[in-house]
Symmetry: C2
Subunit: 135 residues, 2 copies
């Protein structure tokens, strides 16, 4: 009954469900999934462009345009590094930070139903197992 890759199958399906939630939240604020990720990353970092690109798994040139558009919306700001005249640090503006917090809360709210079928104990068990996968 238990297929050899049932775990992987379920994992993929749940992942799509999670992505759907994230995309939906992003779309509700006129953002793309990638822009949502950017705001999430900048919540506890102020990376250089290249670092941001690595975090996102994208090309540097892709991030240029991405940051351009975010700047145009007043969500993030570029500021020149003083220690290295070439590099640029990207940070959240106050308004971007507020939006990031709002998005985080909304994601939590919309994702909660996913785990609500589980009891508290199982929810914690799941958290531990997932955490172990990330190590």
């Amino acid at each position: 009954m238990t297929e050899p890759d049932e775990v992987l199958d379920n994992l993929a399906q749940v992942s799509f469900a999670v992505m759907a939630v994230l995309s939906q939240v992003a779309a509700a604020h006129e953002l793309s999934l990638t822009q949502l990720r950017v705001l999430g990353i900048l919540r506890d970092r102020t990376p250089k462009m290249a670092e941001l690109a690595t975090h996102l798994g994208l090309d540097r040139s892709s991030v240029s345009g991405l940051v351009d558009r975010a700047v145009r919306r007043g969500l993030v700001a570029r500021e020149a590094s003083r220690d290295d005249g070439r590099s640029v640090r990207v940070s959240l503006t106050p308004s971007g930070g507020a939006l990031a917090r709002e998005l985080t809360a909304e994601v939590s709210r919309k994702m909660a139903p996913l785990t609500s079928a589980l009891g508290t104990a199982d929810r914690n068990r799941l958290g531990v197992l997932l955490g172990r996968m990330l190590a």
Copy 2:
């Protein structure tokens, strides 16, 4: 220590990891993630365009172009429904089917490391918990 939304956080992170794997496999075959999904869906269905759009969570017009490009590559075929002269059924070509099977195998292979940190028992436990979330 256990934050209220640690589970959700881990879930999101694991989901991104899964998506990264899927995108990587897709890219290795010159496909987008969406095209990978299309092939996966068509593995056990022969839906109409609108049904395919629903499965993907996309607009009908987006799916038109998507199928166009897949047809151009010889992966899928359109065939007119005889019961409804307006609708079109989309199906895998033999070559598309072969690719779909290949992709499935490759995804399994590349996703396996994700759960390899878990023992057999925990792997099964994870499968059950994830399965319960999908119900």
